[in-house]
Symmetry: C2
Subunit: 515 residues, 2 copies
């Protein structure tokens, strides 16, 4: 709050001309990350938590996990006291949890605009956009392969979003750029077009190193070694398997004190048992092994424990979203991860729908609400997800990021001060009166209620005259407006030049690879 | 569960021909009301609850409530020890809460099909459809005034819904029937076209008596006096006012041991303060006065304490739905009503959208989720609500009632038995395997995951070939199918005849009134 006040004061400090310019300029606001002032929802009893924890230790000790094509990892585990047989690592009861204890419960990811740095962990919630879709939908035309131009548009939309704290990572796959060069262009876009925190590459250990090196240009090499400026997504190959590419990227990041989200990607009934308790057991075992491994690479390296779990439609085999079983897992995993003592990543704007329609709205709202109440600390995919993650949707990006305002306002909790209690207003109005004209209402109405910037609140007749637009059409208009209003954040010209030169040089030095 | 098993067994008891007929017939399933096996979410601290309760007593004792044009009510309050001055009733601290103590914490509303009777209160949740819209949208054409034909269609859709426990009341206003005769046709439709429990008329005390009399024909007069067969909606005229029409209806119902939902209809900032704590204080005072008054009419009469609270868009004055402030009120009021010891009504398929689009989906899902976790016992408007309640939507009715399945499955909680823990499955599959073929998955997959009957789960190509339909189009197709498949529940012919004769006779005896 002190930071926000300082910002307001500094804005007001200019002369009359500056104030006039400010009034005509588009205001780009960014809310501070969410600091929850409401309790978490807990679906599991203490007894259930203990049972699952004991079962997870059994999984690690008796079944074990595979570290594939990674002799270095096997050696680290052997040195730590695990039983290594081929690529199978069996971890004695208690060892993984003990190793996890050196991971920080909370850490700061620094943004180049320090006012937008985020605190990940504790009672906080940091919101980041969708990650990974090869397709986009909207803006001009239907569903199509994503390009670097789409990627840049999404970075701009994220920068313009009040409620999004984080610029994310692979918001969509820029399929028109060679596979081995995409990370340069994506990182460059995050660094130049946004001043929010962002994510690094994970598709090759060398690309993770490139991300660290580019951060060196942006933040200074020494600064990067002493601070966390990247949070990157490391998927576990469920069940119970850690592959060499992802672990290679994790090793680079952990060694450089950069954060990783260690997270399985689970379609229930395929990569985990069909039951909630079984899924929680397997995921907890996987997370303990993954977080512990990061600590073996570098004690104290920041790690987020993640759970991406969907249900499956047993008729079609399709993953399904916003389901009650996914909610059980999200709530339960939150409890288990808090007991592990590391930040928690889960939930998102998940839906299976092909369009930003009622299905998408319901599935997404179910998941966002669950994420808020489950105590999630880092919500990847918090806006823009469509069609099971195959598509980044322009319209849904703005519909979802608007809806993230609901999470902010709910998390504030209930004001129980004198103004909140409003006894004066109740006395003033009395039986049969109305509150629209009363002093308390006048003093409070501007801040009293969250309001959407994209939903329709107009009288029926006005709405009909204006073309009877549905949410998708209203969102499309808002996408256009936000991109037209976009303002590039200022950056030191020498830094920008150094980054551009680095990207040009590195891309020129590599042959194009498209797979 | 025992009932459901008995039903299945009795179905299986017929001969081969009966079994063949059954296989070709449409299966109409109705789920039992929800019995929560998950905790409630509580947003208020003990201290906050005590503050609001003390403030509500202050409101009742110092400000008071108005009972308008109702000398009988004023006399009842005087006799009970309240301070009556004109139409203002000031209730000494503690008196209202003391009177509320004779209202039952839980009661049974009997349905004519006893297997569909509902238990209202405790950890249960009973779901009823939208109530009150003058317009409908969908089926054939856009938005138009509702007719009795629409009303009957909605009763049929309710009867066909697996997840809806209650047939509701004024699902839409049959505007083609004279105002003073609508209740006959609506009650008749609920009684004949559905075998689920339903609601009575409240627009005149005499019409409430008609509802009781018609129930006498359906259930037997003596049965009605000894059982609750109606739950009716009595609105408080906020702030702090009880009008003669609504109270007159309440008096009829309470005197006949029939249940009332005593509930304000509040647009925040207009009929209550802009703040959550202020709104909770006023609503609690209103509910205590209303529930207490029902006990003055007949000690032990079943009452549900309701909270219908929306936010307001201070730009347009429109009520807004699915907002964080409404969620705070819904959660907080649940805590306060549980401490009052009566069943709680709140939440619903609320949205402000003009169409069943993404906005409608998000707003609705926010409210349904909140209702589930807030411990709501009776959810009116749980499906079909559109455009701030002005419209009953065919498509949204089936989208929402499908989504109510999510609430059922979530409320089951997490199975922590051996099958739920699934350790055998995790052992069987091991690192790098997959669960689709394992024995545990085969044993569980049919029941493991909730699945929608209206959402799109198809591969993109199939979906596109089939016309790239959005949720609204898919729901329209499902409306047609459900109405085509509709099966009228059996009823004793003599009872049906008596009801038809009563309605015909009473309608003929009254002049038509259209306002």
């Amino acid at each position: 709050m002190a930071e926000a006040q300082a910002r307001r004061r500094s804005r007001g400090a200019g002369g009359g001309a500056a104030r006039r310019a400010e009034r005509t300029a588009v205001q780009v606001e960014t809310a501070r990350f969410i600091e929850r002032n409401v309790p978490n929802y807990e679906v599991l009893t203490e007894e259930a938590l203990e049972t699952i924890e004991a079962n997870a230790e059994t999984v690690l000790a008796e079944i074990g996990v595979n570290f594939v094509e990674n002799p270095g990892a096997l050696q680290r585990w052997r040195d730590a006291g695990a039983d290594v047989e081929g690529e199978r690592v069996r971890i004695p009861r208690g060892l993984a949890r003990e190793l996890c204890a050196t991971a920080p419960a909370q850490f700061t990811q620094v943004a180049r605009n320090r006012e937008k740095s985020v605190e990940i962990g504790g009672r906080n919630l940091v919101l980041a956009p969708v990650y990974g879709p090869p397709f986009v939908r909207g803006l001009s035309g239907g569903r199509r392969y994503a390009t670097i131009e789409d990627f840049r548009n999404f970075v701009k939309l994220g920068q313009m979003s009040k409620w999004l704290h984080h610029s994310g990572g692979t918001i969509c796959e820029p399929t028109d750029v060679p596979v081995n060069k995409r990370h340069f262009d994506m990182l460059h876009a995050h660094m130049i077009l946004s001043d929010k925190p962002f994510m690094g590459a994970v598709t090759e250990p060398s690309r993770a190193q490139d991300a660290v090196d580019m951060c060196g240009l942006l933040f200074g090499n020494e600064f990067v070694q002493e601070n966390t400026v990247l949070t990157s997504l490391i998927n576990i190959n469920s069940p119970l398997t850690f592959d060499a590419t992802m672990m290679g990227a994790l090793e680079v990041y952990a060694a450089n004190n950069q954060a990783c989200i260690v997270s399985p990607f689970i379609v229930g009934g395929a990569m985990a048992p069909t039951t909630v308790a079984g899924t929680l057991t397997q995921v907890l075992a996987e997370l303990m092994a993954g977080v512990a491994y990061a600590q073996l690479v570098r004690k104290g390296a920041p790690v987020i424990a993640g759970a991406f779990v969907t249900s499956i439609d047993m008729n079609s085999g399709a993953p399904t979203f916003g389901t009650p079983e996914a909610a059980h897992v999200t709530y339960g995993m939150g409890q288990l991860v808090r007991r592990l003592g590391v930040p928690y990543r889960s939930a998102g704007s998940f839906c299976g729908s092909k369009l930003p329609d009622a299905q998408a709205g319901m599935e997404t709202a179910n998941s966002l609400q669950t994420g808020l109440l489950a105590g999630v600390n880092f919500m990847l995919h918090s806006c823009g997800w469509l069609e099971g993650g195959l598509v980044a949707s322009y319209e849904k990006f703005v519909l979802d990021s608007d809806q993230l305002g609901v999470l902010h306002h709910f998390a504030r909790g209930v004001d129980m001060g004198d103004n909140g209690q409003a006894m004066d207003a109740i006395r003033e109005v009395g039986p049969g009166g109305h509150y629209l004209g009363c002093a308390h209402t006048h003093a409070n109405f501007k801040e009293a209620f969250w309001r959407s910037n994209v939903f329709d609140y107009k009288p029926f007749e006005t709405w009909e005259e204006e073309g009877a637009r549905d949410s998708q059409a209203l969102a499309a208009a808002r996408v256009d407006k936000l991109l037209a209003d976009y303002q590039q954040p200022q950056i030191d010209p020498a830094t920008a030049e150094a980054l551009a030169a680095y990207v040009a040089e590195r891309k020129a030095a590599l042959p194009d690879a498209f797979s």
